[in-house]
């Protein structure tokens, strides 16, 4: 239990050393909450006992944070930080090894004209292409993330989902993005959902687990908070908003509620969990708003790719354009960044 916890109470993930981090393969449900999953009734009582979220208040808070004005040096820092947090993603039926290699090249050197531009955090692909990504990224520090568990719907038997995970890990993924069973969650079968996350976590071995809540299907912030706690208790290393295949995907208020959840979880257990909004974050402005939110809601401990990721594709190019604008003083154009 709770291996890999640093003296200040946060779990260390070393982004430069994928697969060698100290994160345990065992479920690390913190002691304090060990008995809340002892039965369906107990787990329901616990999740429903979490403080409610007032929709209007949460949205107003997110909007207020969105009005922060980030300029000059702060903006430059924010853009580089955001780039380093991108999980550069391609999740299409038409994906090929060539597409993935191209994406990997961009992930290592997002702006070929500027060696000072940081690499992104990871490349995120379907499991069968994880090996292509891993080979293309070898030695770069950029992680290979694969979606699994019958992504995006999650509608398959548990055996198939676990096999999907094992396959992606075997292919070289060091990060697994799973989806929860939203049907079971919405039907109130919380323990089923929990046990599935636990099983997936075991199947991940040393790979890090991001748990996609698909908040666009959960619909309420109360449900997002409950699902967040469920995923954290089950051993997820990250909680992630969306598959990107359902609208609405990542929104600022949803991210706010999830950030509050990881903040409260760390306060209660000492275990730090990461957050990954994914889908719909397309502009530098969107990304900066998220960084502001991290800064003011959970603090600087989360301002790193170890603890925060953007699941995105087109976002990177906008970050690069803005970066060029700041560097050169004039506006750039789409031909000055690479097409994906």
């Amino acid at each position: 239990m709770m291996l890999g916890v640093t003296p200040d109470g946060s779990t260390a993930l070393d982004p430069a050393a994928p697969g060698t981090a100290t994160a345990p393969a065992t479920v690390r449900t913190p002691d304090a909450f060990a008995d809340v999953t002892r039965s369906d009734a107990a787990f329901r009582a616990f999740l429903h006992g979490l403080p409610g979220v007032d929709q209007v208040g949460a949205q107003a808070r997110a909007a207020q944070l969105g009005t922060r004005s980030i300029k000059t040096t702060a903006k430059a820092w924010a853009i580089d930080t955001a780039i380093s947090m991108v999980d550069l993603t391609t999740l299409e039926g038409a994906d090929t090894p060539g597409k993935v290699r191209s994406l990997a090249a961009k992930a290592r050197r997002p702006d070929p004209t500027d060696p000072g531009c940081p690499a992104v955090a990871a490349v995120c692909v379907y499991g069968d292409l994880a090996g292509v990504a891993r080979d293309a990224l070898a030695g770069t520090g950029v992680h290979t993330a694969a979606v699994a568990t019958a992504f995006p719907s999650g509608r398959a038997s548990r055996a198939v989902k676990l096999a999907d995970v094992a396959d992606a890990v075997a292919n070289g993924a060091d990060e697994i993005d799973m989806v929860i069973d939203r049907g079971a969650f919405l039907a109130g079968r919380y323990l089923d959902v929990f046990e599935e996350v636990v099983a997936v976590k075991e199947a991940c071995g040393t790979a890090h687990l991001k748990v996609i809540l698909e908040t666009g299907e959960l619909r309420t912030y109360d449900a997002v908070r409950r699902a967040s706690w469920l995923a954290m208790l089950a051993g997820g290393d990250f909680i992630k908003t969306s598959t990107g295949k359902v609208s609405p995907a990542a929104t600022l208020p949803v991210c706010l509620v999830m950030l509050e959840a990881v903040r409260d979880f760390r306060a209660a257990t000492g275990v730090q969990i990461g957050v990954k909004p994914a889908g719909g974050i397309k502009t530098t402005k969107d990304a900066v708003k998220h960084l502001v939110m991290i800064n003011e809601v959970v603090g600087a401990d989360w301002l790193s790719p170890d603890w925060f990721r953007f699941g995105a594709s087109s976002l990177l190019n906008d970050l690069l354009l803005q970066r060029q604008k700041l560097r050169t003083g004039h506006y750039s154009g789409p031909d000055h960044v690479s097409v994906d």
Binding site: P51, G52, R68, L291
Partner: protein
């Protein structure tokens, strides 16, 4: 841990505002000199003198009242109601068009953060004119029978905490109902009222319909005591409100008063905690706590006290105090040295009485008047900081165990302006809201304002309402 993410300064440019070196009174459509000795008006964030404002003598006020009477009798009273409405629509639009200018000027003169003047004060001022404009030709429907009559000349005195917004709350309903006005802004924050006078000129509002007389307490007294004023509307301290009520006794003047408060913000153990913490912060730190309806008494259920206070302290630690023109500032300057001294005095009393003072780390600017957001815990109902209005960024935290105790403590005040309730249980909210003796009850929110929504107090927080149909009725009488 100090943040890696240091926001660079993001100042709003003040070049949009042309502050003149001195301002006259606005009487009968013209800017004219005042007979009193002019007063400096100061940027509270820098102590820089922004301008000099005229001081209206009794004779100046008399001139303004006579101009208002003339305009009432000859122009504004007889005017087609729909045309009166059109003037108000024009004013609303002009306020929107010049919103940025008003926002910057308000922030310079008052010290409030530019985000607040930009996102709250100025839009709400415009909204008040827009809302009341539509009433001008529908007065038969306010509930005073057919063809209710305006009262005549309204004498209005407003405070320094929301200078333009309070002006709008006063002027818009008065004009919509067919009255003319003589308005005295606060002496530390007159500039946006004088810019508003320019807007009246741009709108071609007939001379004398709106008159702005600047000055201090003597000028205000001259306005409310003028024998030809038919209606007195005052927003400010309870002490001055009582003096005004005494002054109008025995006259036929109608009076509405919007005075002090010491609102209870009640947090139950089933509250949506994160939003409650936001509501507590918005309740007491909005506008530096210079808000009559501020949620200055936090009543938190004992079972969640520690959790709520910990969250609150963490949140208060993120508030950014400093340059009001910086778009990232959450808490601006205290409006005057005098007000700062009062806050300091009450905080010292709070400590001396044994309450525990907490303030976040960080430095304050070296020039200007500032006070850190402050939270007092271990406060009892007998402490002065639980009873007196501080009118600053100072929160007093008390606890309760049962709903009855919460209501009893909340109502244990001579004030009754506003209150807050935080709970996820609908029936409890309605029950508590019913029992609270306060004119505005915010449940699961706080410090929301809207021109359609009546605002005003119970008990010694004053009488009369502003906003909505009821607010308009304060400027009308039945025609019988």
């Amino acid at each position: 841990m100090t943040s890696m993410f240091e926001y660079a300064p993001a100042p709003e440019s003040r070049s949009i505002v042309d502050v003149r070196s001195s301002y006259g009174l606005f009487v009968d459509g013209e800017f004219t000199a005042g007979q009193g000795t002019p007063l400096p008006t100061v940027n509270p964030a820098t102590e820089e003198v922004l301008s000099e404002i005229a001081v209206a003598s009794d004779a100046d006020v008399d001139r303004a009242v006579r101009a208002a009477r003339r305009a009432f009798t000859r122009v504004w009273g007889p005017m087609r109601p729909a045309d009166r409405g059109k003037y108000l629509f024009r004013i609303a639009r002009l306020l929107q068009e010049r919103a940025r200018e008003f926002a910057v000027l308000e922030t310079l003169d008052n010290g409030k953060p530019i985000t607040e003047s930009r996102d709250v004060d100025v839009p709400l001022a415009a909204a008040h004119f827009f809302y009341h404009a539509g009433w001008a030709d529908k007065l038969d429907h306010v509930g005073l029978g057919a063809a209710p009559r305006p009262l005549g000349v309204a004498g209005q005195v407003i405070p320094w905490n929301f200078p333009l917004m309070m002006l709008a709350w006063k002027v818009a309903p008065a004009l919509a109902a067919g009255n003319t006005v003589v308005l005295k802004p606060a002496e530390t924050t007159s500039l946006t009222a004088l810019l508003f006078a320019e807007v009246c000129q741009q709108a071609d509002l007939p001379p004398g319909v709106v008159n702005i007389v600047t000055g201090a307490g003597d000028t205000g007294r001259a306005v409310v005591e003028h024998p030809d004023v038919d209606k007195v509307a005052f927003t400010g301290s309870t002490e001055v409100g009582k003096q005004i009520a005494r002054g109008v006794a025995g006259t036929s003047k109608k009076l509405s008063l919007e005075l002090g408060g010491k609102a209870a913000n009640i947090v139950f153990d089933d509250a949506p905690v994160d939003q409650a913490v936001e509501g507590i912060v918005r309740g007491i730190f909005f506008n530096q706590g210079h808000v009559c309806c501020a949620g200055s008494r936090l009543l938190v259920q004992e079972s969640v006290h520690d959790e709520v206070i910990a969250s609150l302290q963490r949140r208060v630690g993120t508030l950014r105090v400093g340059d009001p023109l910086d778009k990232n500032t959450d808490i601006g300057a205290i409006n005057s040295a005098e007000q700062l001294a009062r806050i300091q005095e009450l905080v010292a009393i709070g400590e001396a009485e044994g309450a525990h003072r907490w303030q976040p780390a960080g430095d304050l600017p070296s020039k200007g008047w500032w006070f850190k957001p402050t939270v007092f815990t271990d406060v009892s109902t007998a402490h002065r900081i639980a009873r007196d209005e501080v009118f600053g960024p100072v929160l007093s935290v008390l606890t309760f165990r049962t709903p009855d105790e919460a209501v009893a403590k909340a109502n244990n005040s001579t004030y009754g302006l506003s209150a807050g309730i935080w709970s996820e249980k609908g029936s409890r909210i309605l029950s508590i809201a019913h029992q609270l003796r306060a004119g505005v009850v915010w449940a699961n929110t706080f410090n929301q304002f809207d021109p359609t929504s009546p605002f005003g107090g119970y008990k010694q927080s004053g009488y009369g309402r502003e906003g909505g149909r009821l607010g308009l009725r304060a400027y009308l009488e039945e025609s019988s």
